[in-house]
């Protein structure tokens, strides 16, 4: 059964991080138009990531011995809340910071930790996640990309797709089959670190409906991997991937994705004194939902900080959070469209168009709505 989420606060040691992050973020936001920031955590800016790393704010939960800051889940929550709440471009280091680093720390060998973690913390190693394949989306256990043992390591063949930022990343952590066939489902899967500059790796960008190209096809043709490419135990890939998901699904990135659009709309209403009763109620509704989601997310973070794996609770937060993120652009366009005579600035309209077009991805990445609800149903004892 799903445990009730209890309200809790962020402890003072973590809150202490906030003012410095906020100052840092302000120097960035003062020179970048909000319109550009509407890309939120899909915005990729390697210089921004390296500037953050210089402050010690990439890989903060990793131990100091590996270049991290040795901080807890609450501290990371504060850090990324300020980064996302102000729509800074965190995509370059995002996956390494959220998932790959903690994964390597938990399951990696000492040599892997020594090699990758300091590079992650310096924002020199950007990671992407190789999960989906042309025939494996929600049914992830059916992956066919295969690593076969050679005398000196592994040989990788197959294809990944929808891999966000593969074209700008240094490494991929790929879920691949190391034994059996796709009928064996969860058995025989392993996680491999793939150097994307290795011979035999080909990355092809896929343009999206907004004109961007953030996701990719990645082809592997006889890619030679060393023995040290394997992360964790051979055959444990599925369990390792599942453990990552609680980190992936409950954070502020699941309800702040459209916040810069909301802020620019509020600024427009304030400036033009054009908020009628309907607009005020709408603004309130969005804040009401955000406040509750944030309280839920902090409650899940508390469980993560205690070492629990609140997978179901995280699924529940993500489903509700992405619903709000997708509501925001449609509600704002409805509001603006209620006043045909008003002059709406281009920047607001472009941000609105971008978020409205891209927001279907919010409930695809990290598990579709239907998959998440299936997990919640399992938590209710229905499956």
């Amino acid at each position: 059964m799903i445990e009730p989420l209890s309200l809790t606060s962020i402890p003072p040691h973590a809150e202490a991080l906030r003012p410095a992050v906020r100052d840092f973020v302000r120097t960035y936001t003062s020179r970048v138009p909000l319109e550009q920031r509407a890309h939120s955590w899909m915005g990729f800016d390697a210089d921004f990531s390296r500037a953050l790393a210089k402050r010690g704010w990439v890989g903060v939960t990793l131990p100091k011995a590996y270049g991290g800051a040795g901080l807890d889940a609450f501290s990371r929550f504060v850090l990324i809340e300020e980064l996302l709440g102000n729509s800074t471009p965190v995509a370059a280091h995002w996956i390494a910071d959220r998932q790959s680093g903690p994964l390597i720390l938990k399951f990696g060998t000492e040599a892997q930790k020594d090699f990758y973690l300091p590079r992650i913390c310096r924002a020199e190693a950007f990671f992407c996640i190789g999960m989906s394949e042309p025939q494996s989306g929600s049914d992830l256990a059916s992956v066919r990309t295969r690593a076969t043992k050679t005398g000196s390591g592994w040989k990788l063949n197959g294809q990944k797709i929808w891999t966000t930022n593969a074209h700008r990343s240094h490494y991929m952590i790929a879920l691949v089959r190391t034994s059996g066939s796709s009928e064996d489902r969860h058995k025989g899967l392993s996680q491999m670190i793939v150097d994307l500059s290795a011979p035999g790796v080909r990355v092809r960008q896929i343009r999206d409906l907004t004109g961007d190209a953030h996701f990719n096809e990645v082809f592997f043709e006889d890619v030679e991997l060393g023995e040290d490419a394997l992360v964790g135990a051979e055959g444990s890939g599925w369990d390792q991937v599942t453990a990552e998901l609680a980190f992936e699904r409950s954070g502020p990135e699941r309800f702040y994705s459209a916040i810069s659009l909301f802020d620019v709309w509020l600024a427009y209403l304030r400036e033009h004194h054009s908020a009628d009763a309907w607009a005020r109620e709408l603004a309130g509704r969005i804040v009401t939902h955000l406040a509750v989601l944030r309280a839920m997310s902090v409650a899940v973070t508390e469980q993560l900080a205690r070492g629990n794996s609140p997978v179901l609770e995280a699924a529940l937060v993500k489903d509700l959070g992405t619903e709000l993120e997708q509501y925001i652009p449609f509600a704002i366009s409805e509001e603006l469209g209620r006043h045909p005579g008003h002059h709406v600035p281009d920047g607001l309209l472009r941000a609105l168009a971008y978020v409205t077009q891209i927001c279907p991805t919010y409930s695809l990445r990290g598990g579709t709505r239907e998959i998440l609800r299936g997990m919640v149903a399992r938590g209710l004892g229905l499956r």
């Binding site: 989420l5 909301f262 509020l266 309130g284 509704r285 804040v287 009401t288 309280a295 938590g379 209710l380």
Partner: protein, 343 residues
């Protein structure tokens, strides 16, 4: 909150607020026995200051008790009475026995007459707190005896609401200290709604596991599973929101904006929760005999008591649009989160 207190209150309500008792009181039966059991338990004074003989729980400590009142569809205004007794004691007013209702803002308030409509639990309360409307009470709230009122039923089946009006209402006791009655009533109603949703969820999940169609329990169908997941999500969000609404400011004062969030979230969720629960139950859920209706009728009523989602969202929206904060984040953190105590 204190788990021992929570569990003992849960057990008490399991024993005394049974579906049979609820149905009896809803159809006009006396509340004396139930109220006597509550009085003996001491929970009515849970929030009265310790020096005045109570347990001294704050709004935040008592959240779990409000939640349980809703989970058990307690057919008397215990949550409201707990609040009223605390405030009356603080103001040095002799606390009367019996259930106390909290009225929404009066629809009419002159020297000669006070008229309140749709007072939750107004049909059985012995006293009513009437928050001040306009000039005659000089901005003061009143404690008025229900016995002095003209009481009109709403005519809604099973409802415990009533319209009450008082002529020459100077018999009332003036509560000198200001208190945000509407906001606190909204927050505790949100907590009771979250409690009722909890029972609705459990009842509906159980039914989906028992009822078979096409050769298997309907809970095995993905279409039903997805609906129940949404129900669980909304119940969880309502509960967290209601707990947020019961957190005072660091000064100890009520956080009226957090209360607004609580009532808006639960009220919005309630419509969908009721609709899913009845949809999954089909015709059985509509019957008088099946217990689901004891909770869904309350949710339907409570979602507009003390202001609907639209009213409270508007209050939050006014605050957001008039803030000096440069971003929503910088508005939200001090407004809702700065004063939450660590667990």
């Amino acid at each position: 909150m204190d788990p021992v207190l929570y569990d003992s209150f849960d057990r008490l309500l399991t024993d005394i607020s049974t579906p049979r008792v609820i149905r009896d009181i809803e159809s006009g039966g006396a509340t004396d026995t139930l109220w006597q059991q509550i009085a003996e338990s001491g929970f009515a004074d849970a929030m009265v200051a310790e020096e005045a003989g109570g347990a001294g729980l704050g709004l935040s400590d008592a959240f779990g008790l409000f939640f349980l009142c809703g989970r058990h569809a307690l057919p008397v205004p215990l949550a409201q009475t707990m609040i009223a007794r605390r405030v009356l004691a603080l103001n040095g007013i002799d606390i009367p026995d019996g259930p106390i209702a909290i009225s929404p803002l009066p629809v009419g308030h002159t020297e000669a007459r006070i008229e309140c409509r749709n007072i939750p639990f107004g049909s059985l309360a012995q006293f009513v707190i009437v928050p001040h409307g306009h000039a005659p009470s000089k901005g003061k709230d009143l404690l008025l005896p229900a016995s002095a009122a003209a009481c009109a039923a709403t005519g809604v089946h099973g409802s415990q609401q009533a319209h009450l009006s008082w002529d020459l209402p100077d018999s009332g006791i003036v509560i000198e200290g200001a208190f945000p009655w509407l906001e606190v009533a909204a927050a505790i109603t949100a907590a009771q709604m979250a409690g009722a949703m909890d029972t609705v969820l459990k009842t509906t999940v159980r039914y989906a596991g028992e009822r078979s169609q096409f050769g298997r329990p309907i809970g095995k169908f993905q279409a039903i599973q997805q609906q129940l997941s949404v129900l669980a999500e909304l119940a969880t969000a309502s509960r967290v929101g209601a707990e947020l609404g019961c957190q005072p400011l660091a000064s100890g004062a009520t956080n009226v904006l957090a209360a607004a969030v609580a009532k808006a979230r639960a009220s919005e969720a309630a419509g969908t929760v009721v609709s899913i629960a009845h949809g999954v139950h089909a015709a059985m859920g509509i019957t008088e005999e099946y217990d689901l209706q004891l909770y869904t009728r309350r949710l339907i009523e409570w979602r507009i008591d003390y202001g609907s989602a639209g009213y409270w969202n508007r209050r939050v929206g006014d605050a957001v649009l008039s803030t000096e904060a440069p971003s929503t984040l910088e508005f939200m953190l001090p407004a809702f989160f700065a004063d939450i105590a660590p667990r």
